[in-house]
């Protein structure tokens, strides 16, 4: 550890300033959760409007252009600004604790990642008030997305996502280094909890996938703002290149979304069945294989683009292969519960509800993988049904499960179980009502991204039922929000409310600033469970009690993100003075950070509240 840290007392920050300057992973997790939650509500409101417009044929709840803005923003907001941040919230809250670390490898970069996401998301959403949101779909295909065919909205998409994407990329690097370098003594890779494994592989996917979309966005930006011709066929450009770049990112992206959910499900099913995870090694292998194969299948989003029979067949077969490791996981979860003593707090309701729902999503995925059949399914409501089954029925259920499970650890309060059960059932039933009929709508000839459908095409009943289901999900979401408020006034949660198996449950809820008074010694998989079965109350420490070195808080991450935010507007409006101001702010802060070393501060041995065992 650094021997040169300042011995000045810990800086006392409070209120808003504390939150704007924190580099503590636990607080950053809460920031991600709040911001992601707000964007989730925005995306949900957009969904409500979409389904209201589609409730009846030839309705006029919203006009055609507004509808295209709604579907674009719904997809973009939900994926980039809602579920990914909540994933990062859980990763930040849980991974350092699960590996016995005191923070992530780069706390400053962690904060920077959050603020970049936040300001990128804000920039994108100001489009609603500045002339219109992007309306070319979350996939923003060219040439529709070029400025000959769409307005300034797409510029907000291009700049907002570049900024937010940068935040995600550095977040991924952070978790990779943290997991590789900072595990507690005794925690080999094959003794890591599944959520940490999932976070690790997800971070690898982020590292290699996000640069591809960054390049795509830069090229689109050049075409739109600087006269480039990458995607303009009249000057030799090629529209399909965008699709390749987007999906080389886009396919790994959906595995970035689902793998953490798989990790959450593994933890929860295991804990609430009181059994170790069945087939841990094959779970690890399957997760890694899914991640790897995820880079090999991107063109299954492009089967109808005209790549040819050979390319389509190869990508189709590769896509089908992913079903094998995914199936392995499902059977491992079922066999984990087999022979157990299963309890059903809300966290486990969501985890258990995930299994059949995600399986259906996986089934339609395999169906979609067959290229000739996909020629019918592609760009129809069948695809919309498939991806909502895996993203909402898979990922969002997993996120709700993780929130109910780790809420006590993050906030020191338990979420209310009665409200939780109502939350689950309304959301679950609402979800299936919304999306199950959409499989049939697609097969019956309804394309996607349509602001209305004509009367007399037999599409009325399915659409009507689908909209009814949305009300269920809306109620479910509201119940969750109510639960959050109710829980805040509840009793303090214990360190280990669920009889857990991993290290995060060995420290108080919420943990002290430094997480572990003494880094624990890990003796096997399910480190805490092993100690419990051996009759111990807690972990054996791996180091003596001593002063703990902590990183200093900083306002620079916030400022750096504001700089890029400002520069983004400058680019969009071709105002290079504004661009210069923004970039000088960002690079100036980088310069300051490089030049002025952060000595951190110490928490003295006598300040550590718990009685540590002198090793």
């Amino acid at each position: 550890m650094s021997a040169h840290a300042s011995h000045a007392p810990a800086p006392k920050r409070s209120g808003l300033w504390d939150w704007l300057t924190t580099v503590d992973h636990k607080k950053i997790a809460i920031l991600y959760l709040i911001a992601g939650g707000i964007f989730f509500l925005a995306g949900g409101y957009e969904a409500l409007l979409i389904r209201l417009q589609l409730m009846y044929p030839e309705a006029s709840v919203v006009g055609a252009k507004t509808f295209n803005e709604l579907i674009t923003m719904h997809g973009t907001t939900m994926i980039f600004l809602a579920v990914m941040p909540v994933i990062f919230a859980l990763m930040n809250a849980v991974v350092p604790l699960q590996i016995g670390a005191r923070d992530v490898a780069f706390p400053f970069v962690n904060a920077l990642g959050f603020w970049l996401f936040f300001f990128g998301g804000v920039l994108l959403n100001t489009s609603w008030f500045l002339g219109g949101a992007p309306d070319a779909g979350w996939t923003s295909y060219t040439t529709l997305a070029l400025n000959q065919y769409s307005g300034r909205g797409v510029d907000f998409y291009v700049l907002g996502l570049q900024i937010a994407g940068l935040g995600t990329l550095i977040g991924g690097i952070n978790f990779l280094v943290t997991i590789i370098n900072m595990r507690a003594p005794g925690m080999t890779f094959m003794r890591m909890p599944m959520f940490t494994w999932a976070s690790f592989i997800t971070s690898g996917l982020i590292l290699f996938a996000f640069p591809a979309i960054t390049v795509g966005l830069v090229l689109l930006m050049f075409d739109r703002l600087f006269g480039g011709n990458f995607f303009n066929p009249d000057a030799g450009g090629n529209v399909v290149i965008w699709e390749h770049l987007f999906w080389i990112f886009g396919h790994p992206e959906v595995y970035i979304l689902i793998l953490p959910a798989f990790g959450v499900i593994s933890e929860i099913i295991s804990t609430f069945a009181r059994k170790r995870l069945f087939g841990y090694s094959s779970m690890v292998f399957a997760t890694a294989l899914i991640g790897f194969l995820g880079f090999m299948v991107w063109a299954h989003h492009m089967f109808t683009t005209g790549l040819g029979a050979i390319a389509n067949t190869l990508f189709g077969l590769a896509t089908m292969l992913i079903a094998v490791p995914t199936g392995i996981k499902i059977f491992n979860w079922l066999l984990t519960m087999w022979g157990g003593q299963i309890r059903f707090p809300t966290a486990n309701l969501f985890a258990v509800g995930f299994i059949p729902t995600f399986t259906i999503g996986g089934m339609t995925g395999v169906m979609l993988a067959v290229p000739p059949a996909d020629y019918q399914y592609h760009d129809s409501y069948f695809v919309v049904a498939h991806f909502h089954y895996v993203i909402v029925g898979g990922l969002v259920f997993g996120l709700f499960a993780g929130l109910y499970y780790w809420w006590p650890k993050m906030f020191g309060k338990m979420l209310n179980e009665t409200i939780g059960k109502w939350n689950f059932w309304t959301f679950f039933i609402g979800f299936h009502l919304t999306f199950f009929p959409q499989h049939f709508l697609g097969l019956m000839g309804m394309p996607r991204r349509v602001f209305t459908y004509l009367k007399g095409q037999d599409l009325d009943v399915g659409n009507f039922i689908s909209t009814i289901g949305v009300f269920g999900m809306t109620i479910g979401t509201i119940l969750f929000l109510i639960n959050v408020v109710v829980a805040a006034k509840g009793k303090r949660a214990p360190a280990d409310p669920w009889d857990g198996r991993s290290l995060e449950w060995t420290i108080p809820s919420p943990p002290p600033e430094y997480n572990f008074a003494q880094t624990p010694l890990v003796r096997g998989l399910d480190a805490f469970w092993i100690e419990k079965m051996a009759g111990n109350k807690g972990m054996t420490p791996a180091e003596p009690l001593g002063d703990i070195h902590m990183p200093s808080p900083s306002f620079l991450p916030f400022l750096m993100s504001v700089g890029l935010f400002i520069a983004g507007y400058g680019f969009m409006y071709h105002n290079y003075v504004v661009v210069a101001i923004g970039l000088i702010l960002t690079f100036g802060c980088m310069f300051a950070r490089s030049v002025k070393d952060d000595p951190g501060y110490h928490i003295h041995e006598d300040e550590i509240e718990e009685k540590g065992v002198k090793a």
Partner: protein, 339 residues
């Protein structure tokens, strides 16, 4: 019992929906009601893959339901369950069986895939060039000397080879009852073959977001027997190789004057006119106005009065015609027939 409740709730939900939706869609539009060999091959693959997947789902749900009921914690139950690391035999089983199932799916996938990518020359198939526009469809029959739009006329029981492209943004050409879709990319040409084995009208859709009126870019496919088709094609060719016929009725003649002044720049009739908008040679025979409105004089008048209101974002300007002019134009356009 929680697990039991879950299972029955789900089953009844799906059952209800399945019941309600077994309409399975319209003959003219549904992929579940194939009217040609391409759609049939694709439908067979759909049935095979969904059958296999439903089989897997049933296995999963049986284990799932059993586990949730049998191993639910009973009140007062004590002790720690036996911790099981894994079971090699089982793990191999549920790796190998899915893999074998995939092979069962893979073989017809490959054969159908290559069959659908065959390209047929003009000796074996009718050649049609499709150009997608915001928000209408252009169809040319190069070997027959015919150009038309919005209504695709085809002979029954004969292979049709399409070459598709776009004049502006990406669209996608889709006739679900006849087969799957293909993207129309600006600056590139894609190929697809289809065949209709029943006569009648089939619905075509655009299946790639292409702007505000993407949802309104329907086209119709009129399938008729070979004799009728030949007669249609000859009629079209005949009309298109000559000057437009002068309208006789006074109102229609007035409409033709307006047409020549305001519309010919973008629209072609017979051998004359522009190509920015749909060819209107046989407009009176078409199923719809602007692809979506029922073909009545009132709807045509509505379109001519304010095209942007009917199809937001389309490229036809508002010509600011008064009611009399619109009436005359409607009269003229109802003479534009090739029958």
């Amino acid at each position: 019992m929680k697990g039991w409740q879950q299972f029955w709730r789900q089953l009844s939900l799906f059952g209800l929906l399945a019941l309600v939706l077994t309409g399975c869609g319209k003959d003219e539009l549904s992929a579940l009601k194939p009217s040609g060999p391409v759609a049939s091959m694709q439908y067979d693959l759909m049935k095979l893959s969904s059958a296999i997947m439903i089989g897997v789902f049933i296995v999963v749900m049986l284990i799932f339901t059993y586990v949730l009921i049998r191993y639910r914690k009973r009140p007062g139950q004590q002790g720690v369950p036996k911790q099981v690391e894994g079971n090699h035999a089982l793990e191999i089983l549920w790796t190998v069986i899915p893999f074998l199932l995939l092979i069962v799916m893979a073989i017809p996938t490959v054969t159908t895939g290559f069959a659908l990518h065959k390209e047929f020359p003009k000796e074996e198939a009718l050649q049609v060039k499709v150009t997608a526009h915001q928000f209408w469809w252009e169809f040319e029959y190069p070997d027959l000397g015919v150009a038309t739009a919005q209504d695709l006329v085809l002979p029954v029981g004969k292979k049709v080879q399409f070459q598709v492209t776009s004049a502006d943004v990406m669209h996608a050409f889709w006739i679900p009852a006849l087969g799957g879709k293909i993207d129309t990319n600006p600056g590139q040409e894609n190929k697809i073959w289809l065949q209709a084995d029943k006569t009648g009208i089939f619905y075509g859709k655009c299946a790639e977001l292409c702007g505000a009126s993407h949802a309104l870019m329907d086209f119709k496919v009129e399938v008729m027997d070979q004799t009728a088709f030949d007669s249609w094609a000859n009629g079209m060719k005949g009309v298109q190789s000559k000057e437009p016929v002068a309208a006789t009725a006074p109102s229609a003649a007035q409409g033709q004057e307006i047409f020549n002044k305001s519309c010919l720049g973008c629209h072609a009739i017979a051998g004359k006119g522009g190509k920015l908008g749909p060819n209107l040679t046989n407009f009176a025979d078409r199923e719809r106005v602007a692809g979506i409105l029922a073909h009545t004089p009132e709807n045509l008048a509505e379109w001519l009065k304010d095209p942007q209101k009917v199809k937001p974002g389309n490229n036809m300007p508002n010509l600011n015609l008064d009611d009399a002019q619109v009436k005359a134009l409607v009269e003229y356009m109802s003479t534009l027939s090739v029958k």
